[in-house]
Each structure stands twice: as C-alpha cells, then as structure tokens.
C-alpha cells in the first residue's frame, strides 16, 4: 500500500526535561527539499487530499527544539521568514539531532517562506533561510485553501479569504 495517513515519526519529545528551557519563539535555519513521502504523494497526484498537507505541510524539527516550544507531533506551528509566514505541523525529524535547523519538504507550504532571490543565477535560494518558529493554535490549511489564501488570484475582491468555506479535498469544477 502506498497510501499513508501521515509519515511515521518517533514520539520521544521530553516536555518535562528540567534541562530544557521553555521559550515562545526560536530562530532556526530553514531547509527545504524532497522527501520520499512528499514525492510519492505529489507525483501520485493526491495534492488536494489531507495526506498532502501531512507530508508537505510539516516542519521536521529536532525533539529538543520541540520541547523548548512545548509542541508535540502534529501540532501546529507558525514558521515566519522575511518572505512570509505559514502554519504547518511540527513533527519529530527522522534525521535528528539537528538543533536550530528545521526541514519542510518542498511544496506550497514551504514556498511561502523560501526566498525567491536568485542572485542573478536563476536558482532561487531554497536552503539555508533564517526563520522563526512559534507555537500556533491555527489549523494547517489544505492545499487548495492555502493557494487561495496566499495568491488570491480569483478572490482579489474578497475581504476575508480565510473565512470562506473550504474548497475541500476533491477537484471543484462545473461539468458540462
């Protein structure tokens, strides 16, 4: 079976570790790139589904950083960089330890916070971006809702895009 609910992550975040100092916000280096869960879901075409936000709308973090922020697996965090801010899930990284570094698989969520700057070299800077992470109580948006709220291509006149009903997990179009 290639369909997954969400990536398998270990659950070892120690919130009661006395050595961990609780903070509201941490500054991290953001990296993006491919990941096998993201790749399989994207190329299968399941981008509207809940599965896609679980595999691409997720910040893989070091468990110590998660303990400092007091966030558990699959709780929401707000990632903010000079180019924008996005709500995504936090999850324990399979590649930990890497304190002070987070990884968001490439996708519409990562795009909001990566740098479009190419330094005249055609390739935008997808890796090594300074960002901050803090706990959030907002829900991670589905792909279609995220695209609508970020780019507002067909909702330019709407005042509050976030209050519109969700576009859901299936293609929305009028049949002939």
């Amino acid at each position: 079976m290639t369909y997954v609910d969400k990536p398998t992550v270990s659950n070892v975040v120690k919130f009661d570790d006395p050595k961990v100092k609780k903070v509201k916000k941490i500054t991290v280096m953001l990296n993006t790139g491919t990941d096998i869960y993201q790749g399989a879901c994207k190329k299968r075409g399941s981008t509207l589904k809940d599965e896609y936000r679980k595999v691409a709308g997720v910040a893989y973090m070091d468990p110590k950083d998660m303990a400092r922020l007091a966030v558990g697996n699959w709780e929401s965090v707000k990632v903010k960089s000079d180019w924008g801010e996005v709500i995504c899930y936090a999850a324990h990284s399979r590649d930990a330890p890497h304190e002070g570094m987070i990884f968001i698989p490439k996708g519409p969520w990562a795009n909001v916070v990566v740098s479009p700057e190419t330094y005249c070299c055609n390739d935008p800077t997808y890796k090594g971006i300074e960002a901050t992470v803090e706990k959030s109580d907002k829900e991670v948006l589905l792909m279609a809702d995220l695209m609508r709220s970020v780019y507002r291509k067909y909702t330019k006149n709407e005042k509050n895009v976030d209050e519109l009903p969700s576009l859901g997990e299936m293609p929305v179009f009028t049949k002939k």
Partner: protein, 446 residues
C-alpha cells in the same frame, strides 16, 4: 503497516516498461494491467509505483476554463485550444515553462511554437540543476555512464543529495548494491560515503558520513583539493570537520581504483550555487591525477536532462532560451523563469508537465496571479489553482510512448502499456494544435 496479499487479479503483464519518475529511468518495470488500468507495478520503488498507480480522483480528464467568477468549467477541446492560442498569439512576452515530464517528441513541437511566437522556453533545470549546467560550461564535465559505476566503482560519494528519498533505486540498481564485472561481491566491494549536514537516510546506511556545516561545501571541497596538491591546512577545523579527518578522507579517495561522485540540490541551492559545482568538478579533475574519478548530477525528473540535451543540440543553449529577438539568446539571471517572474515580465505563462504552484517560491508565483496561465498536465495540482485554461495531457511511459534521457545522458524509449482516457490528448498533439492555431491567428492578422 498491514500485510497485503500480492495482486493476482490482472489480465496481462506488460514487461520492461520505463519508469516516469526520477532521473534513474529504471527500465525493468512490469505493469500488471486489468481493464486498461495498471493495478500493480513490479520492481518499482515507492515513488515510481505511486506515480504509475496514480490517484484517479485528481486525474485531469477534460479541458477546463475559468468563468467570470473564477471557477473552472468544463469546455470542449476547440474552445479551450482557441482561447489558449488567442492568449499566446497576442502575448508580448510569453513564457513556456516545464517540459521535463514529457517526451522529446513533444519538446520538438514546443520549440517550433516558441520560435514562431518569439517566446522564452525553459525547464525545471532553472530551479534545480541550472547551476550545474553553468558549472559544466565553466569547467567541464568528467562524466560516465551508470554502467561504468556499476561494473567498476569501489568508492561512491553522495553529496547534497539523499537518493534513498529522491532516487530510491539508484543505489540498488546502478551504484552501490549491484554486483558488477570488477565488483563481484557488490556492496561489500564498495565504500559508500555521504557528505551531508543532515544525518539523512542515505547517510544512515553509509560507511563514512562527513557532516560538514550548512553552506560549508565550498570550503570543504577546497580543503580536499588543497590536501591533494600537498598544501598544509592552516586551520584545525574546516567547515566543522577536523583537519585530520579531511586528510584521511583525501588519502582514502586517492587510493581507490574507480570513484564516483554524485551530487544533488544540496550544492546548487545553497549560497555559493554554481561555484560549489565548479569546485566539485575541479576536485574530480584533481583526483584524476592519482586515480580514475567521475562525477554525475542526480537529475530529478525523468526527462529534465533530455530537455537540456535537446535544447543544447537544437539551439546551442541548455535552458532559459529567449527567442524574442528572433534568434536564440541565453542569459542566466535574465532569460530564466524565476528571474522573469520576479521582475514581473511575462504576460502569458504556459506550464506543461510541471508544477510551479508546488515548486516555485511564493515571491515568484505571485506574478502568476496577475497573468493568464495555461496548464497542460495530467493531474490536478497546486498549479491548477492558478490556471485559467487547463488542457489534460497523457501520461508518458504509461499511456503514451516517447523518448527520454537518463541522468547519464543515455536515451531511453518509454513504451506505452495502456490507452489514455478518451477525453485526453497527447502532449505532442496539444502543443502542435496550439502551434497550428497560433499560426492561423497570426497569419490572418497580417
């Protein structure tokens, strides 16, 4: 994970199909077909299998256009093609982006259209291995075919790439695990080295992991080159790696019989961009003073290399080719997609077999919200949310045959196993149809 019974309910098997996912282009897949559907795939990795057994819910099956409320509506092929041709014919600075997940035959038609309307044509290399292509133009390309690595290599280095996630069968089929002519014991005869700041899934199975710092690749490769040339390293720790480890690694690399360096986007996406690759290529050239070393970029899509080869052969430039003056021009940072979008230059954007909505930085995508976007693709993706006209193509390698180039520039024929959905059209047909219609509009206007 639950145990699943093997699939036994199928009509027939189509053998030796080519995978349409990554640049490894595995050409040994068997598709189990039932009633014009692939119900199971043998030999493919998780990525390949998931792409071939696609999500039917999100398959684009009919042409669509946005109405005045911004909602997609099903239209017939003529209406959609005429509207798309009208947009292209009247555009001042059209940009045709994508092409890496379609066939060379389709690119040929695309190039004719681009040349005719004076557009910019570009592919995914512009956001992945573009710096690699620049570095190859700067310093050369000590490449090989993957068969050489399989039969000869006794040291394989991966840097800035995580093939266990992005090219899962690369190690198994070409580089580390297979038994080769001079490496009869397969994995046991080879040393696997990973240079990566992260303890990636590839690093976890490597013999040696070199965790240099983020953005430390440039200094690290230069340190190895300095040691190779007999220079003394003046610092004790370089890019987070102790001096003695660098000396030991250099010694190990000098003393192999055949080494292969594979590099990925970890090198091209960090700050030094093409200069990282310059140094990596320089390192391989220096190592050849002692023993045989080769290098290869880990290309992502199954035909991203094909576009670069095709364009370089046809027009002399690999990607980001601008025809607005009537002759091909190529200027990094000027005629490349992300720079054009950042400067808000294009007035029509056609995306074929690519997904800028999912893979371009938001800052660049913002311009797609201001201009008409034409999408030719097989699945409803993030780009469909920004597209004004959607034209459903067919799946190369499953529904339509075509030619693609593997990451080591070996051309491979991809055969078709099933028939495309009746309402879809081949990419090549769609692009040709757009060309004919644009020509008609332009000639009538004369």
């Amino acid at each position: 994970m639950v145990y699943e019974e093997p699939v036994t309910d199928y009509d027939h098997i189509v053998e030796n199909c080519t995978c349409a996912f990554c640049g490894s282009n595995c050409d040994d897949l068997d598709y189990l077909v039932k009633g014009n559907h692939v119900v199971a795939v043998r030999h493919a990795c998780r990525l390949g299998a998931s792409k071939i057994m696609e999500d039917e819910d999100q398959r684009l099956k009919v042409p669509m256009m946005r109405d005045e409320n911004g909602e997609l509506q099903e239209v017939d092929w003529d209406t959609a093609l005429d509207a798309a041709a009208e947009l292209i014919a009247n555009a001042v600075r059209p940009l045709f982006y994508g092409w890496s997940e379609t066939s060379i035959e389709c690119m040929k038609k695309g190039l004719e259209l681009t040349e005719y309307v004076g557009a910019v044509i570009d592919n995914q290399a512009t956001i992945c291995h573009g710096p690699t292509v620049q570095a190859v133009q700067n310093v050369g390309y000590p490449l090989m075919s993957l068969g050489e690595v399989k039969n000869r290599a006794d040291m394989v280095v991966y840097t800035g790439s995580n093939p266990m996630n992005a090219h899962p069968r690369h190690l198994a089929r070409y580089s580390v695990f297979p038994r080769g002519w001079f490496r009869q014991r397969g994995r046991f005869d080879r040393t696997l080295v990973t240079w990566d700041p992260k303890f990636s899934d590839t690093a976890k199975m490597s013999d040696i992991w070199v965790p240099f710092e983020e953005n430390g690749d440039y200094a690290f490769c230069n340190a190895i080159r300095a040691v190779l040339k007999g220079k003394e390293l003046k610092e004790d720790v370089i890019s987070g790696i102790p001096k003695q480890d660098i000396i030991d690694l250099t010694e190990a690399m000098k003393n192999v019989e055949f080494g292969a360096l594979f590099f990925g986007l970890g090198l091209t996406h960090t700050l030094s961009k093409q200069r990282n690759i310059d140094i990596a290529i320089g390192l391989v050239q220096d190592l050849n003073a002692y023993t045989k070393w080769v290098l290869l970029p880990m290309r992502g899509h199954f035909n991203v290399n094909g576009f670069n080869i095709f364009m370089a052969y046809q027009m002399g430039f690999p990607y980001g080719v601008d025809f607005c003056r009537g002759y091909p021009r190529y200027m990094i940072g000027e005629t490349t997609t992300v720079d054009l979008l950042n400067r808000e230059e294009p007035d029509v954007f056609m995306v074929i077999a690519a997904d800028p909505g999912a893979h371009f930085p938001g800052g660049a995508n913002m311009h797609l919200a201001n201009i008409p976007v034409i999408q030719i693709d097989i699945h409803w993706g993030p780009s469909t949310e920004l597209a004004d006209i959607v034209l459903p193509g067919t799946f190369i390698g499953v529904e339509t045959a075509g030619t693609s180039y593997r990451m080591d520039s070996v051309p491979i024929h991809m055969k078709s196993a099933i028939n495309p959905p009746e309402t879809c059209r081949e990419d090549e047909w769609i692009v040709n149809e757009l060309y004919e219609r644009v020509k008609k509009i332009k000639e009538e206007a004369k």
